[in-house]
């Protein structure tokens, strides 16, 4: 991994962390929801500072370029969080539906 790419990774992660914190300060984001993003940013910064980590795991998995492992890692985590969010949305939809039904039955009384 080149110095330029590592710098890009670190700066990108720090900017993402800044966005997360800004939304906490604006009371728009729950702390429980920001933990994932905070750890994600921290890990990307770690990868940027210690490229040895990517080299080691790339070697282990037989991936030629460690940069590709970083891509794979980010993509996998993005898919993971996307699925978790789908689950959350389903759960919220059910809750809203139940609440509307409760209120509707309450009004009928």
């Amino acid at each position: 991994m080149t110095i330029g790419f590592r710098l890009f990774l670190a700066l990108g992660a720090l900017f993402a962390f800044y966005v997360v914190i800004r939304n906490i300060r604006k009371s728009k984001l729950l702390i429980s929801d920001c933990i994932f993003w905070t750890l994600f940013c921290a890990f990307i910064v770690l990868l940027a500072i210690f490229p040895g980590i990517s080299y080691f795991f790339a070697g282990l998995l037989g991936i030629q370029s460690p940069v590709n492992l970083v891509y794979l890692f980010v993509l996998a985590l993005a898919l993971y969080i996307s699925f978790k969010q789908t689950l959350r949305i389903s759960e919220l939809e059910c809750k809203i539906k139940n609440i509307v039904q409760d209120i509707t039955l309450e009004r009928k009384k």
């Binding site: 914190i21 906490i24 300060r25 009371s27 729950l30 702390i31 429980s32 920001c34 933990i35 905070t38 750890l39 921290a42 809750k95 139940n98 609440i99 409760d102």
Partner: protein
């Protein structure tokens, strides 16, 4: 001083009647409110049958949500202090008045603490407590002997903040946040009982995720949160 006992209850059919009746019979000087957090068992039914003072949430919001519902009630009714009190009978009411005295003396938050004069046992669970105690010490300079105690009393100004803001769950990170904002925190030695019926919420994976959330929240996020005027 008007003190409200807030009892969040989620699936506490085996405990709620005993806990609330004890308060009604032996501690009539305090008001109480049960917040049923969308229980799937007979918790709400038991409260209705016994005519308990009940806030009945139609959906489960989790402890933080149920706790905040109680705080909104305390704010609306103008209470001087509100205490978070477990619906499973772990907390003992005989310590409430001592905690209220601390509020009267000017404390913003009083923790019903198991380890002011008593020594903390070295169990796995208490290792978590020690880690949190260390993190709070590191970020605020203050020693809180029992950061995970669920028995906490809040003064009027804190009740308003807890009722009206997000990210104010009844957890150690909120405690650390308030200390950073300049809140006066007192600890009163209490005893706690083992729960009699039902299951504890904490298992291994939940404990690990709880510790992770609390650590990141106190250490990383806490430093950047906007301070609030108390």
């Amino acid at each position: 001083m008007k003190v409200l006992i807030i009892i969040p209850a989620y699936n506490e059919e085996g405990n709620i009647e005993r806990v609330v009746k004890n308060l009604i019979d032996n501690y009539p000087q305090f008001d109480y409110v049960v917040v049923n957090d969308g229980s799937h068992d007979r918790t709400a039914e038991i409260c209705y049958q016994n005519n308990f003072n009940l806030l009945d949430q139609p959906q489960n919001l989790g402890l933080a949500g149920a706790f905040q519902t109680g705080m909104k009630y305390a704010l609306a009714k103008g209470y001087d202090a509100a205490i978070q009190y477990d619906g499973d009978g772990q907390h003992r009411p005989e310590f409430i008045s001592a905690m209220a005295d601390e509020i009267a003396k000017g404390a913003d938050i009083v923790i019903g603490s198991r380890f002011v004069t008593e020594k903390k046992p070295s169990t796995l669970r208490m290792t978590g407590s020690n880690i949190l105690q260390g993190l709070i010490k590191l970020t605020t300079g203050r020693t809180v002997h029992d950061p995970t105690s669920g028995m906490r009393m809040y003064s009027k100004n804190i009740i308003r903040i807890l009722a009206e803001n997000i990210n104010m769950g009844p957890e150690p990170d909120t405690l650390a946040y308030f200390i950073r904002c300049g809140a006066k925190v007192a600890e009163t030695q209490v005893k706690m009982d083992e729960r009699i019926s039902g299951e504890s919420y904490l298992n291994l994976s939940r404990s690990v995720s709880y510790m992770l959330t609390m650590s990141v929240s106190i250490l990383l996020v806490g430093c950047f949160r906007k301070k609030i005027e108390l």
